[in-house]
């Protein structure tokens, strides 16, 4: 079994929550832009692909969800780092 880890203090928890709220606001803006831009253009192409080439659609679906996951993870990690740096300066 693993060793002990120091429990974070209240101040640290508050800072994490503050960073999270700020991140949520910036992230929401990204998501709104994403809805209107990316999904609008991708929608029709995906519908056609699903009707005509179902196997290609299956592969594209997995690649899209993994791709989005990797990009969103990078965006949120970048945002967190940026907010932390902004606070420490």
């Amino acid at each position: 079994m693993r060793g002990n880890m120091a429990r974070p203090g209240k101040k640290q928890v508050r800072q994490t929550l503050q960073a999270f709220v700020a991140e949520l606001i910036v992230y929401s803006l990204f998501v709104i832009i994403y809805f209107f831009a990316v999904l609008h253009f991708l929608g029709q192409w995906l519908v056609q692909l699903e009707i005509q080439h179902i196997r290609t659609y299956a592969v594209v679906a997995i690649l899209l969800i993994i791709g989005q996951a990797v990009i969103l993870e990078a965006v949120t990690t970048g945002l967190m780092r940026f907010l932390r740096r902004g606070r420490s300066e």
């Binding site: 974070p8 994490t16 179902i54 679906a61 989005q68 996951a69």
Partner: protein, 307 residues
């Protein structure tokens, strides 16, 4: 917003909020959250087949985010996850075949409902007893002035003797997992993964509610590692499930992508939150999840309405 693949009209904010909630649960407990996503998609008029397939696609994305975060926290045993993925895929195929057998016999709904209720209640009762015992023992040690490992990532279990007894079955080949700190028979790992996959294929979803506790109590993996490794393993098994559902025309990837925007941030929050809780506390907090699943199945059985 109209989603043309599944011909469903759904408010995207609803999808983002549902995704966020499932993301938090997934990041914290290592579960797919299909027992919430399925009924939530059904509630807005989506067909059951699309709800299952789309949920699986969204689980892939959410698990990538949560597993990446857990990996950064040192909570993923890649070796164990890769071995388990093989057993899970085999188990899910057998589970899907079992469904076909009961379908032909004409009693699939009753059998699946009965198995789910017994399983969900059994897991909840066992985990309540175990976590309670472990936390009580930790409190007693604290009162006696002895140091307790029950904080941070430290882990302990009241059923360690059971895990140790299982580990004495040294059926070759034996596998050493340095990250998890255990040496265990490959067959035991495959057995746990196969059972998880079997229930995933039989009852739907990722079956994290059975795999995560099995990894802790049978394989002896620390809770934080069980959560992270389960998520990594779900990426592989849910991708396989998404592919098989997509070629049957059961996946609306546009809905999954929208849900995932909420899940991505929820999963990170859930994963980070695990740092602030000890293993037994995470396991105790896990208990309501299978109970919610059991409540949904009982409601469906009694009223005839599928949530």
């Amino acid at each position: 917003m109209f989603f043309p693949i599944s011909h469903t009209q759904i408010n995207p904010i609803y999808l983002v909020v549902i995704g966020f909630l499932i993301g938090v649960l997934g990041g914290f407990f290592g579960v797919g959250g299909s027992f919430i996503a399925g009924p939530a998609l059904r509630a807005v008029g989506m067909d059951w087949n699309f709800a299952v397939g789309t949920d699986l696609a969204h689980i892939v994305g959410k698990s990538v985010v949560a597993a990446k975060r857990h990996r950064a926290l040192g909570n993923v045993d890649l070796r164990l996850g890769l071995i388990m993925a093989i057993g899970t895929i085999a188990g899910s195929e057998v589970g899907a075949q079992l469904i076909q057998v009961f379908k032909r016999a004409g009693n699939v709904n009753f059998v699946v409902s009965a198995v789910s209720i017994v399983l969900y209640l059994g897991i909840s009762i066992f985990m309540i007893c175990e976590s309670w015992k472990t936390l009580a023992a930790a409190k007693r040690r604290k009162r006696a002035g002895k140091s307790s490992p029950s904080h941070g990532k430290a882990d302990e279990s009241a059923f360690t003797h059971m895990t140790e007894a299982i580990h004495r079955w040294r059926i070759p080949p034996m596998i050493t997992l340095p990250v998890s700190g255990v040496t265990i028979s490959l067959w035991l790992i495959m057995f746990v993964a196969f059972i998880g996959g079997l229930f995933s294929g039989f009852l739907g979803g990722g079956a994290g509610y059975i795999r995560m506790p099995s990894m802790v109590y049978i394989l002896g993996v620390p809770t934080h590692l069980a959560v992270g490794t389960d998520l990594f393993e779900i990426i592989i098994s849910a991708s396989y499930g998404t592919f098989t559902h997509a070629i049957k025309g059961n996946v609306d990837i546009l809905i999954a992508l929208v849900m995932h925007t909420g899940a991505a941030i929820g999963a990170q929050l859930g994963a980070i939150s695990t740092q602030y809780f000890a293993g037994p506390k995470i396991r105790l907090a896990f208990v309501p999840l299978p109970l919610i699943g059991a409540a949904i199945v009982i409601y469906t059985l009694l009223t005839g309405h599928k949530l």
